[in-house]
Symmetry: C2
Subunit: 458 residues, 2 copies
C-alpha cells in the first residue's frame, strides 16, 4: 500500500478483536519490587489485598502468564464499544508540513469518552462474580468515575465515586453523567471518611488530589464487607486490561503495513500509555523491532522527570499498599491544572520499572503548549481532545517538527485516550487567555513532599 | 447467521463506503410543489436562490438524477468520521423483554456529535469552490452550528452562527465548541439584523425559534456578496447528503442478513429521518420490500400530526422561499423544550410530500417519556443520547413493547442521530424531577399561527 493511500480511518474487523489481554510481566527483564503492607512494611499478602480486591484481580496483579483470556461476559460488553478506530492524521501532518506519518488510536468514541472503560468493565465483572455488591473509587478528570459508573450499571452493582474537588468544581457535567448511571458522587476530601475529615482539618481550602480521593475510597471499601475498591490506573491488572488498546493498534498498523518508530501516550497513573505501548514493547523484548516509547506527563506533576524511584505510599493517607515507583511524594499537591487525570503523585510500578530499566523515555509538557496543541489538533482533525490526551498530541507534534527539521519520515503513533466534550470550561479559559505558563512553587512543593518520603524510612 | 450471534457492532469496511448520494426525487411518485419566491409568490428562480446558495447546491436541490457522485475532496473529509457503527441493541432488548430485534445506526461518534456533519462538509465544499468566503447559519440544539463550524474550518472559511436564544442559554458549551472552530456565535433574535431587531421590539423576552434564527442568517448572507447561507435540514440537497446514513445502514443490515420491518428517526426539519429512511424507501418504490417508516416529532412541535399541508414561509420573517410542507405556521413559537433541534415549525418538502402520499407515518412523543426512554437507553446501551435522538428511542421502545404483547419478532431500526454530552443540563433537570408532562397553551398557539398562514392567501 502506498503511504499516501492509507485510509483516514483504519478499522479493525470485529472478527479480529483481541480475545486475550497481554501481560507485560511475562516479558520484562526485571519484575517490579513487591507491594509492601502499609501496616507492617513487609511484603503484602494476598489476604491483605483481599480486604479491598477480589481474588481474580489479585491473581491478575501477580501472575506472569503472558496472555489472559478475556471472559465471554466481558467480551460482550467490550463489543458495545470496541474495536476503536485508528486514524492517519493527514490533516495535522499537512498543517505541520512534516514528512512524518502520524497515527492516533482514538479511545474517545466509547460511551464514557475515554479508554477507562476497558478496565472498568472487567473490574466490575470480576467483583460481581465474587459476590461484591458495591464498588468505591476515586476520579480525577471524571473519566474513570464515568467509566466505573457505566460498568457497575452494566453488571447491576452500586458505585460510590470520590471526585477530586477541583475536578468536581470544574466539571459539573461529569458529576451529572455519573449520577445518570446511578453512582453516588462525593467531592474529595469529604467529611464522609475519617481520612477526609483529617485532611480538611489540616487544609480546609485544598483542591484535593487523587491521593486524597484514593485514601477515602479505600477506607470506605475496607470498612464495608460487601464493598470493594476499584482503581482506574497504576495497578498491574488495570494495565493488563488496557493492553487491548495496543493489541488492536498493532493489528491496525499491520493492516496498512506500518510499524511505529515512536509510540506516545500521556501519563497520569500509566494506564493509557502502557495500554498502547506494552504490546509494541513486546517486540522490543523479542528483539524484533525497536520503537521509541515516550510517556508524557504534565510539567505541574512531573513524577518521571523530577520524581525519584522509591518505595512510597499510593495514597496520601498511607492506607493503600506501598509501591516501588517513581514518585513526587505521596503528600504532593499539584496546582489546579485542567488535566485532572495527570495529577497523581506516583506512577504504575510496571511503567516505573521499565522507565528505570531504560525501555521507556519521559517528557514533561506545559499546560499552555498543551492547549495550543489541542486547538491545532481540533481544528485539523476535527476531534476535541481531552486535556490529558492533549499532552500526547503536544509531544507528537514536537516529534513531527523534529522530523521536519531532519527530513526523516518517521512513523509516530499516539494514544488519543479520550475526548474533551466535558472540558469546555478549560477550553474557554484557554481561548480567553487565562491559561499561562509556569507553575509557581513547584520545586519547593516537590522538595517538601520528597522530604516526607525519606522520613518514612522505607 | 443466527440472529443471536449477530455482533453488538456491525462495522462497514472502509472499502464499502458509499461513493454516491441517493436522491429520492428520482423515485418518489409525486415531486414536491416548487418553491415560491417570498417577494413575487411565483416559482422561485435559480437566480433568486443564487443570492444565498451556490450553483452546485441549487442543482442538487432541483435534480432528479438518482445518484450524485460524492466529490473526492468531500470523501476525504467523510473518511475522517465515516462509516458510523450500527449496533444491535441486545441490552435494551433484554431490559424490555421484547422478541423484537432492535438496531440503531449511531451518528454520534463523529467529532461534532451528530449526523449534521454529513451535510456541513459538502455544503462548505461546494460554497468554497464557488469562491464564497463566509457562511451564515442558524442553530437550534447547537449540533448544526458545531458541524458547520468544523466544516468551514476544514475548508478554511469563516462562519457566523445565529443560535436560538434558549439553546444559547441552556448549552453554553455548545457556544464554546463553535468558537474553538473559529465561528462567531450570536444569540437569536439579535440586534445584528433588521429582522432580529424587529422581533425583539415585539417580543423582548422571546426564547427565540429556528424560524427567527434562519431569518437573521438569511438576511446576513443576502446582504454580503462573499457570504452564503447554509441550512442544516429541510432542503433537498441536505436530505441528499444525509442519504449516506441509510446507504451505509442498508449495507450493514445486509452484512447480518436482516431487513428492517420498521425504520424510525426523530423529525425536526427532516434530515436525519430522511437520511436513514429514504435509501430503504427506495425498496418500497421498487416493490422489493415494505418497511414501515415512522417520523417522530416532539409533542410540543407537532407539525406532521397537528400541522397542515400547505405553502408556508420557511422562516418567521418571510425572507426564505415559500415551501409546500407540513407546517404549524411560520410564526409558531414552541415552548422551551430541551430538544432544540425539533422546534422547527415546518418540515422537509420531500418528507412532507411522502407523508402526504402515505409512504411515511408520524408519531408525536412527550418530553417526559422521551427522557425516561433516554435514561433506560443510556443505562442499558451505555450511550448518552441527545434529547432529539431520544424521541426515536422512545418510539422504538413503544414498537418493541407492542412486539412483546403480540409476540412478533420484528426488526426495528432507528437512527441515533447524536450524543447528549452537551445536554447534561437537561438530564440534570430530568433527574431532579423538573421535566413534566403537558404543554400549556399548545392548541391555542397552533390555532393562532395557522390563522396567520391563511391570511397569506398563498
Amino acid at each position: 500500500m502506498k503511504k499516501n493511500q492509507i485510509p483516514h480511518q483504519i478499522i479493525l474487523p470485529a472478527s479480529e478483536l483481541p480475545k486475550q489481554w497481554y501481560n507485560v510481566r511475562a516479558d520484562m527483564p526485571n519484575l517490579p519490587a513487591p507491594y509492601l503492607s502499609p501496616r507492617t512494611h513487609k511484603e503484602v499478602t494476598a489476604e491483605e489485598l483481599g480486604a479491598i480486591f477480589p481474588k481474580s484481580l489479585i491473581e491478575q496483579e501477580l501472575t506472569t502468564e503472558r496472555y489472559i483470556d478475556i471472559p465471554k461476559e466481558v467480551m460482550e460488553k467490550y463489543e458495545l464499544f470496541r474495536s476503536t478506530p485508528m486514524h492517519r492524521a493527514y490533516e495535522l501532518e499537512k498543517a505541520l508540513g512534516t514528512p512524518a506519518r502520524i497515527y492516533y488510536k482514538y479511545e474517545g468514541t466509547n460511551p464514557s469518552g475515554s479508554h477507562k472503560l476497558n478496565s472498568a468493565v472487567p473490574q466490575a465483572y470480576f467483583n460481581k462474580i465474587e459476590g461484591i455488591k458495591r464498588l468505591t473509587t476515586e476520579t480525577g478528570a471524571g473519566q474513570w468515575g464515568t467509566a466505573l459508573s457505566m460498568a457497575t450499571k452494566m453488571f447491576d452493582m452500586e458505585c460510590t465515586v470520590y471526585m477530586v474537588k477541583v475536578s468536581y468544581q470544574q466539571k459539573p457535567y461529569r458529576r451529572s453523567i455519573m449520577q445518570m448511571y446511578g453512582a453516588g458522587v462525593i467531592p474529595s476530601p469529604s467529611d464522609q471518611t475519617q481520612v477526609g475529615r483529617g485532611i480538611l482539618a489540616k487544609m480546609p481550602d485544598t483542591n484535593g488530589s487523587l491521593g486524597d480521593a484514593i485514601a477515602e475510597a479505600v477506607e470506605d471499601a475496607a470498612s464495608h464487607s460487601d464493598t470493594n475498591y476499584a482503581l482506574g490506573s497504576v495497578l498491574n491488572h488495570v494495565i493488563l486490561h488496557q493492553s487491548v488498546i495496543g493489541l488492536e493498534a498493532k493489528k491496525q498498523m499491520e493492516m496498512v503495513d506500518e510499524y511505529p518508530d515512536i509510540v506516545i501516550g500521556c501519563n497520569g497513573g500509566g494506564s493509557n500509555f502502557s495500554g498502547i505501548a506494552f504490546p509494541f514493547l513486546k517486540d522490543t523484548f523479542d528483539g524484533k523491532e525497536h520503537a521509541k516509547f515516550i510517556a508524557v506527563e504534565a510539567e505541574a506533576c512531573p513524577k518521571l522527570t523530577k520524581g525519584v524511584f522509591t518505595y512510597d505510599y499510593g495514597d496520601s493517607a498511607g492506607m493503600a499498599p506501598i509501591t516501588m515507583m517513581y514518585s513526587l511524594g505521596h503528600s504532593f499537591h499539584p496546582s489546579g491544572i485542567h488535566a485532572g487525570g495527570l495529577r497523581y503523585h506516583g506512577d504504575s510500578p510496571l511503567l516505573s520499572q521499565l522507565y528505570h530499566d531504560g525501555f521507556i523515555e519521559a517528557a514533561a509538557v506545559g499546560q499552555k503548549e498543551v492547549f495550543e496543541a489541542a486547538l491545532l489538533f481540533a481544528q485539523t482533525e476535527a476531534i476535541v481532545p481531552a486535556p490529558e490526551s492533549s499532552h500526547a498530541i503536544c509531544q507528537a507534534i514536537k516529534e513531527a517538527n523534529k522530523c521536519k527539521e531532519s527530513g526523516e519520515e518517521k512513523v509516530i503513533l499516539f494514544n488519543l485516550s479520550g475526548n474533551g466534550y466535558f472540558d469546555m470550561t478549560a477550553y474557554d479559559m484557554y481561548l480567553s487567555g487565562k491559561i499561562g505558563d509556569g507553575i509557581p512553587g513547584l520545586e519547593e512543593e516537590i522538595a517538601r513532599a520528597q522530604g516526607e518520603i525519606k522520613d518514612l524510612g522505607l
